[in-house]
């Protein structure tokens, strides 16, 4: 285990955890250091919507007290974490990046938060996101965009840009995101951090404000593969409150991250995600990483997943449909914003005025699309047919995984673009997700990890690893091996090259 040197905020979670065990530092010190960091840089990064200073410190103190009393604590006890503002936490504002939930404090904890608390992880605050997780840049937050710590004029990815930026800005060593079409992986790629979308059903969605119920998954984010694995192990597992939660044992992801050995593995390059039209630097770094995997002892072959071409189209029928239904509850009657209730208006009018005022443009667009796709007369051709494409994509994955152990591709077609560049062009924005979407449609697991900077702009590039459903451990085995080789080659983690804030 690496020993600590330098700033507390620049350490890996596993290093911090070990230092606490050895009595070198307390959770309170670590927590305060991170709160100071947030206070120092977040005015520019804007990763956080809500910082829980007092709660975090008292949680940290409690962990220290129990450790001092001789209690055996979990592997991440006392380590701070940033939580995407889409998961409920009792008494803490949960806005989902929207005005419609401004000020709402849930009366219950999500299962993810319960598990984080049971693991004695210290939650620093709630992070910024595209409104209701709809977006790839965090520009659609009602509370202003988050800025990429690598270049503050650029987007940090989305929808979980806040969590990824918090990691990249050293405001937290751990974060939780959610991924519906790439919202963990794409921000990880453009911020030089690690993010994983577990197998659908691997992490409980109870308390996750739903976007597209059949696509959403909460997932772990960190700066290293091992830290991500440790966090994954905390939050994953069956939850009886989520009917779609997997009943199987969580595979040994930490063990796989530790083993980090690809010898004898077969790795597939997806021809359809091969990078035609991708940014040159993205393709270059990707090809270099594939070569490294071969050097490490893996056999790399090309596979074809011909139905992946249709993934974007299917996604843009399925997501809005489910979202339009999931967001219907925001009607101003029971919680959140209520607009226009002057005593004379009808409930129908007040609902419509509330939603018009409370939702941003992208959310309204997708609600309209989804309402249309589910309308009578259109269901079969629209939503119904899109669900058939899912079957085809799943079949492509199944066939591929009969031949290879994992698949790889670049995570995103470009590095971080400038804030404002694509926000008015939805189609261009949607193309950011082209490589990440198939995995959400099929429900299997995927990771993005940093593989270098694009030479033309010096911005991070990510590689995506895709594993069969329930084989999340393979992500960590391959990711761990690649990361180790790259770090060895660079002499340091990629994130060390991020500009000082």
């Amino acid at each position: 285990m690496a020993t600590m040197d330098g700033d507390l905020v620049r350490q890996d979670a596993s290093v911090l955890a070990q230092a606490m065990v050895e009595g070198e530092v307390s959770s309170e010190e670590i927590t305060r250091a991170h709160l100071d960091r947030i206070a120092s840089v977040d005015d520019r990064v804007h990763a956080f919507l809500h910082v829980l200073s007092d709660d975090a410190i008292s949680s940290a103190r409690e962990v220290d007290r129990r450790r001092a009393a001789g209690e055996r604590l979990g592997p991440l006890a006392g380590v701070p974490l940033a939580l995407k503002d889409v998961l409920t936490m009792t008494g803490v504002p949960t806005t989902c990046g929207s005005r419609v939930l401004e000020g709402w404090r849930p009366p219950y904890d999500s299962t993810v938060v319960e598990r984080l608390r049971s693991a004695d992880i210290v939650i620093l605050g709630k992070t910024n996101m595209d409104e209701f997780a709809m977006g790839s840049s965090t520009e659609h937050s009602a509370y202003g965009p988050t800025h990429n710590p690598w270049d503050l004029e650029r987007i940090p990815g989305g929808s979980g840009g806040g969590s990824a930026a918090a990691l990249a800005a050293f405001e937290a060593p751990l974060a939780i995101g959610t991924d519906t079409g790439g919202s963990i992986r794409q921000p990880a790629a453009v911020t030089g951090t690690v993010g994983v979308k577990p197998t659908y059903g691997g992490v409980s969605r109870y308390g996750l404000v739903a976007l597209a119920s059949s696509l959403d998954q909460p997932g772990p984010c960190a700066r290293t593969v091992m830290d991500t694995a440790l966090l994954h192990a905390v939050i994953a597992g069956h939850d009886p409150r989520d009917s779609t939660s997997i009943r199987a044992e969580v595979p040994d992801i930490v063990g796989a991250a530790r083993a980090a050995d690809v010898r004898g593995m077969r790795i597939g390059l997806v021809r359809e995600l091969g990078g035609e039209g991708y940014q040159a630097g993205v393709r270059q770094r990707f090809e270099e990483s594939v070569a490294i995997l071969t050097d490490l002892g893996a056999e790399v072959v090309e596979v074809s997943c011909p139905n992946f071409e249709y993934a974007l189209a299917a996604y843009y029928l399925i997501l809005p449909s489910e979202a339009s239904s999931n967001l219907a509850r925001f009607d101003g009657m029971r919680y959140g914003l209520r607009e226009g209730d002057d005593g004379s208006r009808s409930v129908e009018e007040v609902m419509a005025l509330t939603r018009e005022a409370g939702f941003g443009a992208e959310v309204k667009r997708r609600i309209m699309i989804g309402t249309y796709a589910l309308s009578s007369g259109y269901y079969d051709a629209y939503y119904g047919s899109a669900q058939k494409v899912r079957t085809l994509i799943t079949r492509d994955f199944t066939a591929a995984f009969e031949d290879v152990d994992v698949l790889v591709s670049p995570t995103a077609p470009t590095t971080a673009f400038k804030i404002g560049d694509k926000v008015d062009d939805p189609l261009a924005m949607y193309l950011n997700d082209i490589a990440t979407i198939p995995v959400n449609l099929a429900g299997n697991a995927a990771m993005s990890l940093p593989i270098g900077l694009a030479p033309e702009d010096g911005l991070p590039v990510g590689l995506q690893i895709m594993a069969p459903p329930m084989a999340d451990d393979r992500l960590y085995r391959v990711g761990g091996a690649l990361e180790a080789a790259l770090v060895d080659h660079w002499g340091h983690q990629l994130i060390e090259e991020a500009p000082q804030l």
């Binding site: 849930p106 999500s110 308390g207 119920s213 989520d242 009917s243 239904s325 029971r334 589910l374």
Partner: protein
């Protein structure tokens, strides 16, 4: 557009048109917890104290299916001779309404758990009993909504209210919807068939133990669909009538809708596809929301729930738990009781069968049980426009009355007054006998005093009796009964009288 309230008399309506009926009933299950969450379901709790993130539809909440609800639905389907789906899903029915926490209802759409069944019902006609097989389209699971109260208006109803208040305690209660296929060929018996079907359904559900099925409490709800068309023509446009809260209302709603639609059609008008609201007091319905613009519910499979795929083994296990089918049970009871078909059918029509059974189970002789329920109590229920089982008379009440009759403390006439008291809520049988002073006078000396007084008043009658016209004793007995307000045992009075006069009776 016609706003007339014209009707054509029923018999006349049926000369011109054939009715087609459709009945949709909702049964509230008596489970301990709600359909998709563990909230308690006891009736009458303080507002908004039986809610949780799931049934309130809070952001991030997720449903989990109540196993007992699935089990009960399968049993209901089997009792209705349905096929049970091997694989089916829940679906979201999307629409906005303040009593809907999620602004969608989790229900079942094109994949009901049970389908293609039937229920045989019998209706008494002048030509004897006629049987109808009502085909069941589907039996499916869904969740109930919250309850609205409307404030500020004059009537407490929606129209004219200033605002409304919502209690979500009932949101998420398991509701099972049973839909018939269109019921044809009932002609003038349509109202009776409808009533018989709902009665039979109710008794079936009670026998299964899945619900209280009390219409007046809302645990059994019925929407009545009626359409008319000239014989041989394609089916007409149907209307839906809601707020049908009793078996009697089912019958009246069908009856009045036939009369109304006949008038519309006969005058060359067009029946509008609409939802109508039934009024207990007038026996008629008024126009509600027009369904011309049918709401688009945008059904799609519920992604937060996984399919329900009951194994065939489980279905057969549940089939074995079904009580005896109603027709078999009825045949058995009819034989046991030695009752004529007509008398038996009368019992059924009065909705009394289950009550008679329960009364017999309480220890009352079957003839007495039948006599009370299909006789006096049915008469009272009809007079007051109530259902038999909402009178408030229990099998134990009847048992007590029978005991008092057997020991001579009550006679028939007094017993009826006791029942009046029970229905009026005055207390137990014994309390009423005491408070109303209804005991039979058994004290001989008191009776003799009354006899002597009557004899004194009618000396000529005394002479007639002594002269051998024993029948004349009736006048004295009558006078004594009157004097004791019926609280004497007539036979005893007669024998005392004759003894008094030294005459052999």
């Amino acid at each position: 557009m016609t706003t007339t309230h014209d009707t054509i008399p029923f018999a006349q309506a049926l000369e011109k048109f054939d009715p087609v009926l459709g009945l949709e009933t909702h049964v509230e299950l008596g489970t301990a917890s709600k359909m998709f969450c563990s909230c308690p379901t006891e009736f009458g709790a303080a507002a908004n104290t039986q809610v949780c993130p799931v049934c309130l539809g809070l952001p991030g909440s997720m449903p989990v299916v109540n196993a007992m609800a699935v089990e009960s639905t399968i049993r209901m389907g089997l009792a209705l001779n349905c096929s049970i789906a091997e694989w089916c899903r829940f679906a979201r029915k999307n629409y906005f309404y303040p009593d809907m926490p999620k602004d969608y209802q989790v229900s079942q759409y094109d994949e009901p758990l049970c389908f293609d069944g039937y229920l045989d019902v019998t209706v008494e006609t002048d030509d004897g009993p006629r049987e109808f097989r009502v085909e069941i389209e589907r039996v499916h699971m869904e969740e109930d909504t919250g309850k609205l109260t409307h404030a500020g208006g004059a009537t407490g109803r929606i129209h004219g209210a200033d605002y409304s208040l919502v209690d979500y305690n009932r949101a998420g209660i398991p509701l099972i919807e049973i839909v018939t296929k269109p019921i044809e060929g009932t002609g003038s018996l349509a109202p009776l068939v409808a009533r018989a079907y709902v009665t039979e359904l109710r008794d079936l559900m009670r026998g299964l133990g899945v619900s209280d099925v009390r219409m007046e409490e809302g645990s059994l709800r019925c929407d009545v669909n009626v359409s008319l068309a000239p014989p041989g023509d394609p089916w007409g446009t149907r209307s839906e009538t809601k707020n049908v809260n009793s078996l009697r209302s089912v019958e009246r709603a069908v009856h009045s809708e036939i009369e109304r639609q006949a008038a519309v059609l006969a005058s060359g008008g067009r029946v509008i596809q609409e939802t109508r609201h039934f009024h207990e007091d007038t026996g008629r319905s008024t126009s509600g929301r027009s369904k011309e613009q049918a709401e688009d519910y945008r059904y799609f499979p519920e992604p937060d729930l996984v399919p329900v795929a009951p194994s065939r083994e489980w279905v057969e296990e549940l089939r074995a738990t079904l009580p005896e089918p109603p027709s078999v049970k009825r045949a058995r009871l009819r034989a046991e009781w030695g009752v004529s078909d007509h008398d038996f059918q009368t019992l059924i029509n009065a909705g009394a069968l289950l009550l008679v059974e329960e009364t017999i189970a309480a220890g009352v002789d079957q003839a007495a049980a039948r006599k009370w329920w299909s006789g006096e109590l049915t008469r009272i229920a009809n007079d007051r426009g109530l259902e038999l089982d909402s009178l408030g008379v229990t099998p134990d009440d009847i048992k007590r009355v029978e005991e008092l009759l057997a020991e001579g403390s009550l006679n028939d006439k007094l017993a009826r007054q006791v029942f009046d008291g029970v229905i009026a809520g005055e207390g137990t049988v014994d309390e009423i006998v005491a408070s109303r002073g209804l005991g039979v006078v058994s004290d001989d000396s008191a009776l003799l005093t009354a006899i002597d007084a009557a004899l004194a008043e009618q000396p000529d009658v005394a002479e007639k009796i002594k002269g051998g016209k024993v029948q004349a004793a009736g006048a004295i007995v009558g006078a004594v009964m009157k004097a004791t307000r019926g609280q004497a045992d007539a036979a005893k009075v007669r024998s005392l009288l004759l003894e008094r006069l030294g005459v052999e009776g």
